[in-house]
């Protein structure tokens, strides 16, 4: 019997798992997919929002304001890429300038420090590549960019290092209320827990309804993005938003922590909660909208595009509360933007909620908040040589676009909650995110995965079950095969 079972290992579930690891609790983190951070967390804008735009009084406003200042020490402790580069909201006419003034007032209500209005020249001087049509901007110094899946993976790993159990490929099929708590049925196994924290993202309503009376709904809203090569990564140095207007929130243009440029998203409500396909229309909209913010969009430098689904609740706010019908079942649902920013603060709040239920939490004296992660190419030459001397596999570069070594790839497979697939390796240490998109390093990564996991290379998958890459060996054309005799 676990004290707490967290269902869903996205940014919310992983944050809560790590937070609970600070206490003497037995916690299990249950994930339906082959890896953590595999839903909304792997496909979003990767922004740490300042917090001026959430509606005052909402949970979004509260946890955004609380979460944002936590990122410096959190990302330092976990060795996760985070840059507080500041954000700008561009206004293209006087009407929009007026909207910015309202947003500035809202920033005061929400308790967001340092927000100020910039005029045309001030915008130009800090962002020379922004469109000349920009009449002014709202500057928020506390806005930033982070590696969202890097953060979730780091928190899951740190939680596991501190005693949290992580169960992957374990879709929950049913939940039964018991005397002491809940029995959770998963594909092929079952476990019991006194409390459940539901962090199931776009499936949070389905998971809740397994044991409680339906009382909220989650809508999947798709957003599509383009990623540009690092050659475009320095085009802007802040997160560039557009002023919200009656047509919507506008799309953003931002550098990413990896040094690429990211544009997006559009917003499309989806019936199918599994549809992650990009569309020509969606990306066309994203490009046209993003082009408005810049003098010129470097269209030739696009190296990838992707789509993500955000989980929007029908309350138009986060839902962070005990279920109305299932005692001990805590919903953390509807965690759409600014969910990434809010997650660390939500985790603290959920620990408090559980503490009230349990009657106080006892700190775990052995909790180690630190997790180190070596990015080889960021080291000094002497440090690199020292590492290569210790382990020569750090001297062999596998991904030549992003300079990733065999040593780093092996390390990310061997860690707790380590990579088991090509995409898992890609998300942890980035081979395949560069210009060649895995053309050169893909086969080598598969070879390393097979060797380290003791599998045959044909068993190595791209991501989920069924995403096999190789279909068998060559040299299987046999003499008795028909066909093809007359070429």
């Amino acid at each position: 019997m676990y004290d707490v079972a967290i269902i869903g290992a996205g940014i919310a579930g992983c944050s809560i798992a790590r937070e609970l690891a600070k206490y003497r609790l037995s916690t299990v983190l249950i994930e339906k997919d082959y890896d953590v951070a595999n839903g909304t967390t792997k496909a979003n804008s990767a922004i740490v929002h300042a917090g001026y735009d959430a509606k005052p009084g909402s949970l979004k406003a509260k946890f955004n304001a609380l979460g944002n200042p936590m990122f410096d020490s959190l990302c330092r402790d976990l060795d996760v890429p985070f840059k507080r580069i500041g954000s700008l909201v561009l206004a293209f006419n006087q009407e929009e300038v007026a909207t910015l003034e309202k947003l500035k007032d809202q920033s005061i209500i929400n308790g967001i420090p340092g927000v100020k209005l910039l005029n045309r020249e001030e915008v130009r001087s800090i962002e020379p590549n922004v469109s000349d049509a920009a009449a002014g901007a709202l500057y928020a110094p506390t806005g930033g960019i982070v590696g969202p899946w890097e953060l979730a993976i780091a928190m899951a790993e740190n939680a596991a290092e501190n005693g949290v159990q992580v169960l992957l490929e374990s879709p929950v099929t049913g939940i039964v209320k018991t005397q002491q708590g809940f029995r959770i049925n998963m594909k092929g196994k079952t476990l019991e827990a006194k409390y459940i924290v539901n962090c199931a993202g776009i499936h949070a309503d389905e998971v809740h309804d397994m044991v409680g009376e339906p009382y909220f709904r989650i809508l999947a809203r798709k957003g599509e993005y383009d990623v540009f090569d690092k050659s475009a990564g320095k085009l802007v140095s802040h997160v560039i938003f557009q002023c919200p207007n009656e047509k919507g929130k506008g799309v953003l243009v931002t550098p990413s922590v990896s040094g690429n440029l990211l544009i997006g998203p559009n917003a499309q409500d989806m019936d199918d909660r599994n549809d992650l396909s990009t569309t020509a229309e969606g990306l066309d909209f994203v490009r046209k909208s993003a082009a408005k913010s810049l003098k010129a969009l470097p269209s030739g430098a696009v190296i990838n595009n992707f789509a993500g689904l955000r989980a929007r609740s029908d309350r138009d706010d986060f839902i962070i509360e005990e279920s109305r019908s299932a005692e001990g079942f805590i919903n953390v649902a509807g965690i759409e933007s600014p969910g990434l920013t809010a997650a660390p603060a939500i985790a603290v709040h959920v620990a408090e909620l559980l503490g009230e239920k349990i009657g106080g939490l006892v700190p775990n004296p052995d909790f180690n908040p630190h997790r180190t992660f070596t990015v080889f190419h960021e080291l000094q030459d002497e440090e690199k040589n020292e590492l290569v001397k210790k382990d020569s596999r750090y001297g062999r570069i596998i991904c030549r676009c992003e300079w990733i070594t065999e040593g780093e790839i092996i390390d990310c497979i061997k860690r707790k909650v380590g990579a088991t697939t090509v995409d898992g390796v890609k998300r942890r240490v980035r081979p395949g995110y560069g210009r060649c998109q895995g053309g050169f390093c893909g086969p080598r990564v598969m070879e390393i995965l097979a060797r380290e996991l003791g599998k045959d290379i044909t068993e190595i998958r791209k991501d989920a079950e069924g995403s096999y890459i190789l279909t068998g060996e060559t040299k299987t054309v046999r003499l008795n095969d028909g066909g093809g005799s007359d070429v």
Binding site: L276, T279, V388, I397, C401, G439, T474
Partner: protein, 421 residues
């Protein structure tokens, strides 16, 4: 810190030929840096024949062509390091390398020859919408799996783009038992050589759909099919012509991009048309003493031309090291005129022009029965009649140095004869 006269970055056909030729021209301290486990570069996975007709007067496979040069390199006792990555080249020719045995080392070179080759354009760069399942990969990645590692990448294959690697892989997959359903090409003509259309597609009854593109990718975990569509004259999909083609594998052969990240770090000026360095008659880049040749300079279709071009780079790097290359003098610009996309080299320093001046170029469309005209300062000095000019086949024109030396003052232009009105 090591000291070498010439460091060659890349041990493929370009680097091998350049290193050997530099040695032949009297430079001894040469080091070739190769990131793979063996020399030979991409030739090692090109197991089909057709290499070497110009250089060896016979049809070799890629590995054979490579091995001849590797044996020559070894015979000439030229040093090389495999499994070693060049991670930086500075404008003053300090080369930083790394490998498992030594970690990071620095090499001071008198001259550097850039021969890093090219990479394939991937899915993101061509912007096909849809899902992101397994089973979509570049033709070159598939070629490595099939030919070197011995694994099949699929059973039912569609190939997007008619570049030569795509056509070669169509045949290769068919020969290993896969069903190759079609090649989809956006243009009305092939991006690959005619001979490959005949021997890789027609021989195996593989259809090629010209003026078509892929507008959708279907399948969640593994590819289940693609949606193809006809395109108009501006290569835009025509609504209503979509058709679903089931397949478990999509191989992309949609273009090659010279790999110039090291060149850029070294401050080398690039030509936006070729994606490679701007070079002079000596294959020397905008940075003195840094040379470039092969696919890192511009994408070739015949390895024989890579070898010829790289020998020139090797020879001139040797001249540079020995102080025989004239840095100053009369500079004549070489321009791509009407119908020509680019010409390499980009300019000539007349004082260095000892051998004949070879110009490599690609045209921008298909032309039949046309003259290729070389003009010096606006006056035609050479006209070559061509029955057919194709963007997929590189053209080469040789000019007599005496003629160039005598006549040139400002520029040389190559153009295709205009339509007679």
């Amino acid at each position: 810190m090591y000291d070498f006269d010439i460091v060659v970055v890349g041990g493929g056909p370009a680097g091998l030929a350049a290193a050997i030729e530099a040695k032949n021209n009297g430079v001894d301290r040469i080091l070739v840096i190769e990131r793979d486990r063996e020399l030979g570069g991409i030739l090692q996975q090109c197991i089909h024949n057709g290499f070497g007709l110009q250089i060896f007067k016979e049809e070799l496979t890629g590995p054979e062509y490579a091995e001849r040069f590797i044996l020559e390199l070894q015979k000439k006792e030229i040093m090389y390091k495999t499994d070693t990555m060049a991670i930086h080249v500075s404008p003053d020719k300090l080369v930083t390398i790394m490998n498992a045995a030594e970690g990071i080392s620095h090499i001071r070179a008198k001259a550097v020859i850039l021969a890093m080759g090219c990479r394939e354009r991937a899915r993101g760069a061509i912007n096909i919408s849809g899902t992101r399942p397994a089973g979509v990969m570049t033709a070159g990645a598939a070629q490595r799996f099939v030919n070197m590692e011995g694994y099949m990448v699929g059973k039912e294959v569609v190939i997007f783009g008619s570049g030569d690697i795509g056509l070669i892989m169509a045949r290769r997959m068919a020969l290993e038992g896969a069903a190759v359903k079609m090649v989809v090409e956006r243009k009305p003509y092939s991006a690959g050589l005619t001979r490959n259309i005949v021997q890789c597609l027609e021989d195996y009854d593989i259809p090629i759909n010209y003026t078509h593109t892929i507008v959708g990718i279907k399948g969640r975990e593994r590819l289940e099919g693609v949606v193809i569509s006809k395109v108009d004259s501006k290569k835009r999909p025509i609504a209503g012509t979509e058709e679903f083609v089931s397949c478990d594998t999509l191989l992309l052969s949609v273009g090659l991009i010279p790999e110039n990240e090291l060149s850029e770090a070294a401050g080398v000026k690039l030509d936006p048309v070729t994606g490679g360095a701007v070079v002079n008659e000596a294959m020397e880049t905008s940075v003195e003493g840094i040379f470039a040749c092969g696919n890192v300079l511009h994408v070739h279709d015949l390895v024989d031309y890579v070898t010829l071009e790289s020998r020139k780079a090797g020879k001139n790097a040797a001249r540079y090291v020995k102080g025989l290359l004239e840095g100053e003098g009369t500079i004549i610009e070489i321009r791509a005129g009407s119908g020509i996309r680019y010409v390499v080299p980009h300019f000539v320093r007349l004082e260095n022009l000892k051998d004949e001046l070879e110009l490599y170029m690609r045209c921008d469309d298909i032309y039949n029965d046309k003259k290729l005209i070389v003009k010096i300062d606006g006056k035609s000095v050479k006209e070559v009649y061509k029955r057919r000019l194709m963007p997929s086949e590189m053209e080469r024109v040789k000019l007599d140095p005496k003629e160039v030396l005598r006549k040139a003052k400002g520029s040389i232009t190559v153009e295709i004869e205009k339509e007679v009105q």
